[in-house]
């Protein structure tokens, strides 16, 4: 029992440190990628003992700055709610990590350890639920700032996230119809099997439409450009305008955490999670014949690496999208959500159902 | 009255005028350099050429008298062509040193050239080099290069001051204005030469290089130096000037007023303007062992109470007021109401500045601006022995330092020792400052408005030109506020209204 708790604790610590490290790196990636896309160089000044390393220390400098900035609470605002909002927002983003599998199981001694913080059979529902709860951070933050504009920003954010939550959920129904379980590791495992004997049964192949809808709705969930209507601090005033210091930093981090989680989810649900094509627990078995047998530890490492690479790619893609598109107007945003994504996900569900019945 | 036609329009003008004067009367400006309304016309500059119908050549407007039915063209092509030519010739010998010329900005040559000039240099020859720093008077520098030989200065000295120090030497292109050997112009009106010079040939050393003319603003006022009451223009730094400069007034020029000063003022009035900015009393001071700054309210309270007590004790004769002769008529009237009517029994005496030498032109013997105005009221003349007057007084109010010119300062300070309260109201620092308890800044003439009656009996109004310096206030305001605090306010108002 104690050992189980210890393992879970280690898994939590490892998971959170993985997430936070990636978040830090992502802030750097965000700056650098935007710079490179725009033919610039980007942040490269932060240095430790004259060592610059392409500005990799910039996130550390940012973090230090955030922590030492004055924490300002607007007068006549609700101090408690104002303080709790960023934590709520951050918490519900991070907790989603619990259901995501980093790899298959490993066996140390007699203990079988899943590379997943909690293996729950309602994983997918849990994730959707946690995403929805993230709204509270926004609306509370907007309201507690005692500022009309932040409240408006919070309202905008709530409306947007609720709208896209539907599309997000509906786009997954097709998957649920195909996959045998709601448990994410099971889903990943299922994606290891082959279609027609040589195509991996990745979600993106079985559910291309569902993938697009999920990706777009997921981007909307992260509240980033082109869906950054709740934020837009300088132009349209978002919900965290009245925040400063590390509280603001938490909201900012929530953004990046959500980017990582959406990437992880897309990877898990549509790109085979930790699966490497044709890699089985004992090594590669290619459909055209030929085998490469590998140690099971190497396989595990390859699987985890595969998962991380996929996540990294989607992070890159989301950042690229953020620096490509202009912001939606609010009516366009709502049109896209209600008039395109939701009908399309219905089409997707019906289409999937028909194919399942016919095949 | 005769009929003439100028530029196709018919006018009726008085007979005997020249074309230039007639057209000036009807509002048409004919450019000119050598013509000056107060001087005989000379016709040397050729700038005022106009076309007269029936006369083949262009004629000088400044010396051609008008005739009945004359048809004059002042602005047709031929006239403007002639002006261009004249300006071109003038500039052939005139250096283009406007940047360092003090006249720039108010120079006739500059103005006319910008209006009519031929903006094209056709001369290949070098301009003549001459003496640029020729001292013709202690206060004037003559620049031979800039001179256009309009001879205004020569004529001024011959006709107005009748001293004739200047003459035109040589002839043709060698001509120049000069004094005889080293005999500088020493008369009291030499400053006017710089004013009447239409270009920058004669410049005033007092104003030389101090500031450019376009930074200055001018407002009319009256010269307080003598009892003539000459009309003057005070040239002061425009309030829009972006930098902080201690000096406000830069020069004084005459304002034409044919009845009083013509077009001129004397050097005494011209150069004695530094009192406006220098040695001013800036704040009300009270001596309590040493001088300390107080507010006006404190002063009104103190002295008002003292006057109140003296009135209550029926000891009005203990109040003595010593007034100078340079206040405005309105201030004298206020003094009359305040001390003679509301507190009968107080003694007011007047003391003016000592008389100076008069000259035969403008400067008068009496150096007080408003003796005539003060004379209208029941102030005692200065025949009284001041020491006797001060005897047994409890409150003495001085207006100005003039009293010290009339008595021994030693005796005065001894006489003042026994007096409890001594008040000085003056604009500038002076000998009385060390002898009194209260020192109050009043404004100079340029900072207040009112009227003066000059020695001829003409009363002239003048307006505020500058903002009061520091906390200084006009005497009339001081007296009115004091009346409020000394318990005679009602009486004061009634008398004033009745008056």
């Amino acid at each position: 029992m104690f050992l189980d708790i210890l393992i879970i604790a280690i898994k939590i610590i490892l998971g959170i440190s993985w997430l936070l490290t990636l978040t830090l790196i992502l802030t750097w990636v965000e700056r650098k990628e935007s710079a490179v896309v725009q033919d610039r160089i980007g942040a490269n000044r932060a240095s430790i003992l004259g060592l610059r390393v392409f500005g990799l220390f910039q996130p550390i400098a940012d973090a230090i700055k955030m922590m030492f900035k004055e924490d300002f609470v607007p007068p006549f605002s609700n101090r408690f709610l104002h303080t709790i909002a960023p934590f709520l927002s951050f918490f519900f983003a991070v907790i989603t990590l619990a259901a995501i599998p980093f790899g298959d199981e490993i066996t140390i001694g007699s203990k079988v350890i899943a590379l997943q913080i909690v293996r729950m059979n309602v994983g997918l529902v849990f994730i959707l639920a946690m995403f929805s709860l993230g709204i509270y951070g926004i609306i509370i933050g907007g309201w507690a700032s005692n500022n009309k504009y932040t409240l408006l920003g919070g309202m905008r954010g709530t409306a947007q996230i609720i709208s896209y939550e539907i599309a997000l959920g509906l786009s997954l129904i097709g998957l649920i119809m195909i996959y045998p379980s709601l448990e994410l590791n099971e889903i990943v495992k299922y994606q290891g099997s082959l279609l027609f004997g040589f195509i991996p049964k990745w979600g993106v192949i079985l559910q291309p439409l569902g993938f697009f809808i999920f990706l777009i709705a997921g981007m909307a969930e992260t509240k980033r450009v082109p869906f950054d209507l709740p934020e837009g601090e300088s132009e349209i005033i978002g919900f965290y305008t009245e925040y400063s210091g590390m509280k603001f930093g938490l909201f900012m981090m929530t953004d990046f955490v959500e980017v990582i989680l959406i990437s992880a989810l897309v990877t898990t649900l549509f790109f085979g999670g930790w699966q490497v094509p044709y890699l089985y627990p004992d090594g590669f078995h290619f459909p055209w014949g030929g085998n490469i047998l590998l140690n099971k530890w190497i396989v595990t490492v390859l699987q985890v690496l595969s998962f991380n690479l996929k996540v990294a790619f989607f992070c890159w893609l989301l950042v690229l999208a953020r620096w490509t598109f202009p912001r939606y107007r609010y009516d366009q945003l709502m049109n896209l959500g209600w008039k395109l994504l939701i009908p399309m996900s219905f089409v997707n569900i019906i289409g999937t159902g028909l194919i399942l019945i016919l095949v | 009255m005769i009929k003439i036609t100028i530029n196709g329009k018919n006018y009726k003008v008085k007979e005997g005028l020249t074309i230039l004067e007639a057209s000036k009367q009807v509002g048409i400006e004919i450019p000119h350099f050598c013509y000056h309304p107060a001087l005989e016309s000379e016709g040397s500059c050729r700038m005022c050429l106009v076309e007269i119908k029936g006369v083949p050549k262009l004629q000088l407007a400044c010396s051609t008298p008008i005739k009945d039915g004359m048809e004059i063209e002042t602005e047709n092509e031929r006239v403007i062509e002639a002006r261009k030519a004249v300006l071109e010739f003038l500039l052939a010998g005139h250096p283009l040193d406007c940047p360092i010329c003090d006249k720039a900005g108010e120079c006739k040559l500059q103005d006319y050239y910008y209006k009519f000039g031929l903006f094209e240099d056709r001369f290949e020859e070098e301009k003549p080099k001459r003496d640029k720093l020729f001292r013709i008077a202690p206060n004037l520098i003559y620049d031979q290069e800039r001179c256009i030989l309009c001879t205004r200065c020569v004529r001024f000295l011959r006709e107005i001051t009748k001293t004739g120090e200047l003459g035109v030497l040589n002839r043709g292109k060698e001509s120049l204005i000069s004094i005889y050997e080293q005999e500088l112009i020493e008369n009291n009106y030499s400053g006017n030469l710089a004013d009447i010079c239409p270009v920058g040939a004669i410049t005033d050393i007092d104003f030389r290089f101090k500031i450019r003319t376009w930074f200055l603003e001018r407002k009319k006022s009256i010269c307080p130096i003598c009892s003539r009451g000459c009309n003057i223009n005070i040239h002061f730094l425009s309030p829009s000037f972006p930098f902080k400069v201690e000096k406000r007034v830069f020069r004084i020029t005459p304002e034409p007023n044919v009845k009083i000063n013509g077009y001129w003022i004397c050097n005494l009035g011209r150069y004695n303007y530094h009192y406006i900015d220098n040695d001013r009393i800036l704040h009300p001071l009270k001596r309590n062992g040493e001088l300390k700054q107080i507010s006006w309210e404190e002063f009104y309270e103190d002295i008002g109470n003292k006057i109140k007590i003296l009135i209550r004790r029926k000891k009005e004769e203990k109040i003595g007021v010593i007034v100078n002769l340079s206040l405005t008529n309105e201030e004298y009237e206020t003094l009359e109401i305040f001390f003679n009517k509301c507190i009968p029994g107080t003694e007011i005496i007047t003391f003016g500045k000592k008389s100076g030498k008069e000259d035969n032109f403008l400067l008068t013997e009496d150096r007080n601006a408003n003796r005539k105005g003060a004379g209208k009221y029941r102030f005692k003349e200065k025949k009284i022995d001041i020491l006797k007057f001060l005897n047994k007084k409890e409150l003495v109010i001085f207006f100005g330092h003039e009293i010290t010119e009339h008595c021994n300062i030693q005796l005065l300070s001894e006489a003042l020792k026994d007096i409890k309260t001594k008040v000085l109201i003056a604009s500038n620092k002076g000998p009385l400052i060390n002898l009194v308890d209260y020192i109050l800044p009043s404004t100079v003439i340029a900072e207040k408005e009112g009227s003066f009656t000059n020695s001829q009996g003409i009363t002239q109004k003048f307006y505020r030109v500058l903002e009061p310096l520091g906390e200084s206030r006009p005497e009339i305001e001081i007296l009115t506020s004091l009346a409020q605090k000394s318990g005679i306010w009602r009486n004061f108002l009634m008398t004033r209204r009745a008056g």
């Binding site: - | 004739g164 120090e165 030497l169 040589n170 002839r171 005889y180």
Partner: protein, 162 residues
């Protein structure tokens, strides 16, 4: 004032003054007399004339500097005035001026040390038919060349008058 006219000239001056309604109108005539008397018009003479006519000395100077026949500096016994206007210049006056100044050892406008000759150049003498020409005191000499000038100067040098 130390300088005075001789009684004879003074009498003449008084006579001239009486000819005019205003005293100062006699200025030109008196200046001519003064030049005759003193040879040239110095500052002292100017002051003297001004005193006689009751005007400012600057007015006298104005007149003196305006007219070229009044001398402000002493001139030599013979005042050589060479014409330099068109006709004379075409016929070689410039050359002659240089020649004379070389010969006398003085520049234009100067006087020889022995106070005998003064050389100056003047505008047209009204004798273009004799160009180049010059005037010595009141005598005219026309059709000049270097030889003729040598001859004239020699004669003048020996004080031989025609």
């Amino acid at each position: 004032m130390s300088l005075k006219f001789s009684p004879q000239i003074e009498k003449e001056i008084n006579k001239i003054i009486k000819n005019y309604p205003q005293k100062q109108s006699a200025l030109l005539s008196i200046l001519h007399l003064a030049q005759k008397e003193f040879g040239y018009i110095s500052e002292e003479v100017e002051r003297l004339v001004a005193q006689i006519l009751d005007i400012k000395p600057i007015r006298v100077r104005e007149v003196v500097t305006f007219y070229t026949m009044f001398h402000q500096r002493p001139v030599g016994k013979y005042h050589i005035k060479v014409c330099r206007n068109i006709s004379c210049s075409i016929n070689g006056a410039e050359e002659l001026i240089d020649y004379i100044s070389e010969k006398l050892g003085i520049k234009v406008g100067e006087t020889t040390p022995d106070k005998k000759f003064t050389l100056s150049v003047v505008e047209c003498l009204g004798a273009c038919e004799h160009a180049p020409c010059m005037q010595v005191n009141s005598e005219y000499y026309g059709n000049l060349d270097k030889k003729k000038i040598d001859l004239i100067l020699e004669r003048l040098n020996n004080d031989i008058n025609d």
